[in-house]
Amino acid sequence: MAVSGVFGWLNIHRLALHIELSDEVYDGTETFVIVTLENKKSIMPAFLIGVKLDGEWLKFNLVNRRGSESGSLALRFHGRGYSTLTETVIQSRFPINFFIRSKFFKIPESFVLFPAPRSCYAPVDPTVRNGRGESLACSRGFDGDVMKINNYTGYEPLKLIHWRISAKHDEFKVKEMADSRGQPLILDIELLPGADLNEALSCGVFLVNRYIRQNRPVGLKGGGLLLQPDLSKAHRLRLLTELALYGKHSDCS
């Protein structure tokens, strides 16, 4: 019994836990968490380790000495703003199932929990006269619709040459394309639709994701903050973060 106790203690001794969360964690939406268990022992493998994270269990049969094993857990978090994982427990019944040895871990890193996206319409944009229908591009681009056919000036890329029409003329004709990017849009948080702030922010998350997916640069305004429209992933995450933390900045300062 004494020996099994020592082995049980050794088994969960010198173990490290690393948690990796996805870039985007939305309120109430299932997200995968990658759990890596590292065995820092140089002699003994770690056996039968259960990792409990937010009430969910992940099992590792064996982690080699000086090795690590990973697994993933589907978790749901609730709320918005800064969040941390609750206390994490490592447990093992090794070696003979008479006793359970546990070790508690505190994971200090926090992450930002975005509001859950809620389908909604964009607020009326005063810069656009027509709320519905085609929106005309204001600049030339390379990947939009064909706007008109022009003469080749020698500067256009060859791929824009319209070979079929050029064949009927003496000179090369090129397609003039519209810029496929939508009209830049700045969302005003205070104008977002919703019964309360949380609903409005959820709507904002939905719109940011939708417009950027549609290749329309989105910016954000509200609470003394102005973010110019952009399309990059980093920009999108920044917008989502601002939406998540809206009205909560003082909490985490």
């Binding site: 004494a2 020996v3 082995f7 493998p45 259960g50 049969n61």
Partner: protein, 632 residues
């Protein structure tokens, strides 16, 4: 990949074989055959993963064999019937599906069988089997844990090797502990239970030299000196003889190196046999109840003044058996070395010499002189004390005429010197006086504080006569009285009983004793089944019925009111519609549709209405449903 269930099965069969093989040829033919058959069938069942024997039949078989073998229990035949039962139970378990509970049962039964084998044979092969058993069990338990954790999945073979190596490490790591607990610790000289024994001063105690006046006071030391397994004896007779001090050297009494040859014999008295368990000490002298006759069980050197020495005693813990005669006299021939026994200290005060001359004049015969000396002590109002002791250059003079208080050494040495001065040969006897009788263990506990010195005076007609001058002290407890013990004292006695049994059974380790304990335990167990007669089963029948009813009632109480109601309802429905197929999966609504019985429909409606709303039945509904059930 390796199937963990297969590994577990192999280990389980190995454990079973390790438990049963050592007893296989001692048990009856029927259990032997059943075991072999079960082993083969169990393997086959496990391979096919189909178990044909479960439920009542195997339980009945076990019960029948249990009754048959229980009837064979007797004082002489306890182990074999028990082993027969164990093997039958093991066989039944082998045939059943292997789950965690069954695996653990197999393990426990095998362990009991293996333990039982040690009662039948003291062969060294038991150790081999035990060793293998422990290793297999360790591996088995680890794999069982794996199986539970992984829900019986297969594991890669490299993982299997790693698990195996760690499982083997466990018994290997246990070996030093096994050595500590079973080999080294039982043989230590360190007393384990002495936490209740207080640690007193370090002065008082048995000494091979008596020198009154050497210290101003004497501390009390409660260390255990020896224990004596004995019947209870009168306090007046509790003198434990150790050493005889026959020569005066300066102010001290010592034992002369001179070999005295005297022909002596014990006076008449009651013969007492005892076993002494001395604690390890530096003295070679053996303590025996006065007057010792024989000591056996140890190599001893006996001297004519009934002093026993043994060099073996210094080696460590042991025991010796003694025979004593409860007498105050040692009969001897009148040719003792009178001159030797009449030597007095060179320096004696004038007061002492004049007192001796005065006493000598009071009688012609030695008995009269002794009587006068006793009177002097009794009338002198001497007090027994261990503090403020005489400590001058002549402590005897100071004790006799000034302080008039001292401990046994003052009383005894002054009395002996006075005897010698009045012409009576005398000597001091050192040992212990009294003893705490431990009724739990049936032994006397003698502690260092009980060290005592008394006197033996030689009388022509009688021989050596024991006189305890300390008894003349005014504050001495009346003879025959042992001090009353308080709660602490009683607790100490109880704790000492543990120490005593520990020493007796573990430290004074011998197989004979162990086997005797085992037999006594057996006899104790047999007390229940010794007079077993089949007709006694009749008396047990009401008890069994009561037990069955009790278990039934508990089960009944455990199920909810609603469950009981539905059970009763279904029972009635089955009786009313014997052809209807009612399985546990059949819903009440479904049943109502199939049977088209208004009562059944009503029951289903009311019951389901409460069930689907997730609430308990109201009292009205419950009464209504009961009426429906009774109508059915």
């Amino acid at each position: 990949m390796v199937n963990i269930q297969t590994v577990l099965n192999i280990l389980a069969y190995s454990v079973t074989l390790l438990g049963v093989v050592p007893v296989f040829f001692y048990i009856d033919m029927a259990p032997r055959l059943i075991f072999v058959a079960s082993l083969i069938c169990g393997c086959a069942f496990d391979l096919k993963e189909r178990y044909h024997l479960h439920g009542l039949p195997p339980t009945l078989v076990s019960l029948i064999f249990f009754i048959v073998y229980a009837a064979q229990f007797s004082r002489e035949n306890l182990v074999v019937p028990a082993l027969n039962i164990l093997v039958i139970l093991l066989s039944v378990r082998l045939l059943s599906e292997k789950n965690v509970r069954n695996y653990l049962q197999l393990l426990a039964l095998s362990l009991f069988a293996l333990a039982g084998s040690s009662l039948l044979s003291l062969s060294m092969t038991f150790l081999l089997f035990l060793f293998l058993f422990l290793i297999t069990v360790a591996i088995f338990l680890v794999f069982l844990t794996f199986s539970t954790f992984t829900s019986g999945q297969s594991i890669p073979s490299n993982e299997l090797k790693k698990i195996l190596s760690v499982s083997l490490l466990m018994p290997a790591a246990s070996i030093p502990l096994l050595l500590l607990f079973f080999v080294i610790l039982p043989r230590t000289q360190f007393p384990l239970w002495h936490f209740l024994n207080s640690r007193g001063g370090t002065v008082a105690g048995f000494s091979e030299r008596v020198e009154p006046g050497a210290a101003a006071e004497v501390g009390v030391r409660k260390n255990v000196v020896f224990r004596v397994q004995s019947i209870k004896i009168d306090y007046a007779d509790l003198y434990w003889r150790g050493i005889v001090l026959n020569t005066i050297q300066g102010k001290a009494w010592v034992r002369s190196q001179k070999r005295l040859v005297e022909e002596v014999s014990a006076g008449k008295g009651r013969v007492v046999r005892q076993t002494v368990y001395p604690e390890p000490s530096a003295t070679p002298y053996l303590f025996v109840l006065n007057l010792p006759q024989t000591i056996y069980g140890i190599r001893v050197e006996r001297e004519t003044d009934y002093v026993f020495r043994s060099s073996a005693l210094r080696g460590g813990r042991m025991r010796y058996d003694t025979i004593s005669v409860l007498t105050d006299t040692i009969r001897g021939r009148p040719d003792i070395e009178r001159v030797f026994y009449l030597e007095t200290p060179v320096r004696l005060s004038a007061r002492v010499i004049s007192l001796a001359a005065d006493l000598a004049r009071r009688g012609k015969r030695d008995e009269e002189k002794i009587s006068a000396l006793k009177d002097f002590f009794l009338s002198g109002k001497y007090a027994y004390s261990t503090t403020n002791l005489p400590q001058s250059a002549d402590p005897i003079d100071e004790f006799l005429f000034e302080k008039k208080s001292g401990h046994c050494e003052f009383f005894a040495s002054s009395f002996a010197i006075m005897l010698r001065l009045i012409g009576v040969p005398s000597r001091l006897v050192g040992g212990y006086r009294g003893g705490e009788y431990n009724t739990i263990g049936g032994y006397y506990l003698i502690t260092e504080e009980m060290a005592h010195v008394w006197v033996e005076a030689y009388l022509e007609d009688i021989g050596w006569l024991k006189i305890d001058p300390s008894e003349f002290a005014v504050n001495r407890a009346p003879p025959g009285q042992t001090p009353q013990l308080g709660l602490y004292g009683k607790l100490r006695l109880i704790s000492d009983s543990f120490s005593y049994y520990w020493n007796q059974t573990v430290i004074n380790y011998d197989l004979e004793k162990q086997v005797q304990i085992l037999r006594e335990t057996n006899a104790l167990l047999q007390g229940v089944t010794l007079s077993f007669k089949p007709e006694k089963l009749l008396y047990a029948l009401p008890l069994l019925i009561f037990a069955a009813l009790f278990i039934g009632a508990i089960k009944w109480r455990r199920s909810s009111r609603e469950e009981r109601l539905v059970r009763g309802f279904l029972k009635k429905v089955r009786r009313k519609y014997p052809v209807a197929e009612i399985t546990p999966a059949t819903g009440l609504k479904e049943l109502a549709e199939v049977l088209d019985d208004p009562d059944v429909s009503q029951f289903a409606d009311i019951y389901c209405a409460s069930l689907y709303r997730d609430r308990r039945l109201s009292a009205r509904e419950f009464t209504l449903l009961r009426e429906v059930v009774s109508r059915l």
